[in-house]
Amino acid sequence: MTKLYRYHMFGLVVVSDMVFPELAPGDPNKEPDVSIRQGHVAVDGLPGGAIQGPFCYTTTEPKQFWLTVPEIARYQVNEGREIVVDPFPDVDEASIRVFLLGSCMGALLMQRGLLVLHGNAIRIGDNCFVCVGPSGIGKSTLAAAFLQRGHDVLADDVVAVNDNCEAIPGFARLKIWQDAADQLKISTEGLRRIRPGIDKFDMPLREGFKSSPLPIKWVYVLQVHNQQEFSLQKVTGMDRFTPLRNNTYRFRYLIGMELKPRHLKLCGELAGKIHLARLRRPEKIFKLDELVDIILADVAAHPMQH
């Protein structure tokens, strides 16, 4: 019989026939919520599915998601309960895991009815803030800087939000580029590369991910501009909705799985409960300490009641 491993992420107990060194062990006494297994995934998409992009299909009934990452693996995510992985020949396991823990987990969490944002969640006391923004804007670097200041990182890249507008702790790792590690004086010696050939590392996190879901009270939309200084601009009223919608993790997955109405409702509810601000940083120059201070000061100035 295939050996099964048990893990814990996003509040779910996962059983898997693949090893995930990034994940924490799962409670052996609980019924598993999700299974990850290697098996056959159709080469040409989902029968009767809607094509969402060159590498992606979805179906609504049942809720299924199909993704090919060229030369790495085909994945199928079923009903929020199962991820099937069909690797290409000779591919390394780290590469298979990166896209499973990113895109596939994002799709699975959506199928489970959660609001999934593209960003990270950082603990502040018994609450948290979420920082959203496009790839390359410096979200993970910022999360690492907060970690150094003693704040737990609840989730990185994929932030799952439940019906109570709480962020669910994801898993205990941060993906950090060599340059960011250098800037923060973090040694990458002994850290695992996320994939062979890429100077980006898995940085293990402390205990933050073990906490229960924490209320999101603040959201920062990280952007760059061609000015020399940081700028912080509070967004109020209904204008808080659009940045949440725009920073949804892979919006086209949602459209395909007919999850959009529910998603927009959750965005609306969250928008009504948070302090939201646009935080623009100078391009190139990335004064991390100053950025952390700006966020901490703004958080302190807006003690939100949930």
Binding site: P54, V69, G136, A180
Partner: protein
């Protein structure tokens, strides 16, 4: 499906943004000039967020070579759109190892290539790269030049192969199997109506005289500078003081040293001759 891409291709600092301002004004045909910060044609060819959305996974977890192999696939996907896309691109026209052009053959409606006298490009390029003119001339002469990263962090733009200035021009104007139209920056200056009308016709845009004239007026360098002064220009790299600089031809005559212009002419003789920037003796012409 009526979608697909018309590429607005050029070496950097050759009038691409100016042309895009014209194009947006021509499409909008409104009473006021289009806001220079609302030109969507800039974002896609080398932007990464857009590509994440199309492919459905984080391309930041891929190597530069892997990303390059995905670019044609992502561009091809745009043929599913309902409308034609007009996209700026500074990459040279290159083929991937499997023979597929970077910009894909499928869904590729054609390329408008804008060429500018490299003697003037060198000055603007130095400003753009925040380097000396000598260094800019060196980059323009580097046969394998590329914008890219050190591989240790995530650049906001994808790696782009520019090659040398001459190879860049040749790659597009001699590209096989795609429809092409070539215009000179200098002709956009001296014969605007004729030049812009020719470009508009190629791009399947309106060519009605009054409309073209208005779009030319609304994208005049004076208007672009006025808007940049007033509210800034989001596409300006931070290292540059201003994006819309002089917008003139022949600036090199008072800016370059004789050694610098001779070096450029020596590096790019054939292509400069082809576009009549020099005569058969290598002497600069009056364009």
């Amino acid at each position: 499906m009526t979608g697909g891409i018309f590429w607005l291709a050029s070496y950097p600092k050759s009038g691409n943004t100016w042309f895009r301002a014209f194009l947006h004004n021509l499409q909008a045909d409104s009473a006021e000039p289009v806001d220079i910060n609302e030109m969507y044609t800039a974002v896609i060819a080398s932007g990464r967020g857009w590509m994440d959305e199309i492919v459905g996974f984080n391309i930041s977890d891929l190597t530069e070579d892997e990303v390059e192999r995905l670019r044609p696939v992502a561009y091809r996907w745009l043929r599913h759109d309902k409308e034609i896309s007009y996209l700026k691109i500074h990459d040279a026209y290159t083929l991937l190892p499997d023979g597929e052009p970077l910009v894909s053959r499928e869904g590729n409606l054609g390329a408008l290539y804008i060429v500018r006298n490299p003697l003037d490009v060198a000055i603007s390029f130095a400003g753009h790269m925040n380097c000396s003119i000598d260094r800019a001339i060196e980059m323009m002469g580097d046969r394998e030049f590329r914008f890219g990263s050190n591989g240790k962090k995530l650049p906001e733009q994808l790696a782009q192969r520019l090659l040398s200035w001459s190879r860049h021009v040749a790659s597009w104007v001699e590209a096989d199997g795609i429809s092409k139209e070539v215009i000179r920056y200098e002709d956009m200056k001296t014969r605007p109506l004729e030049t812009f009308t020719r470009a508009a016709a190629f791009l399947k845009l309106p060519t009605e005289r009054k409309r073209v004239e208005k779009a030319i007026r609304f994208s005049d360098i004076g208007e672009l500078q006025r808007q940049e002064n007033e509210k800034g220009f989001a596409e300006r790299p931070m290292r540059m003081e201003r994006f819309f600089r002089k917008g003139i031809s022949g600036d090199w005559r008072t800016t370059l040293t004789p050694a610098q212009s001779e070096k450029i002419i020596a590096d790019h003789f054939t292509m400069m001759r082809h576009f009549n920037y020099i005569d058969e003796h290598g002497q600069p012409t009056e364009v």
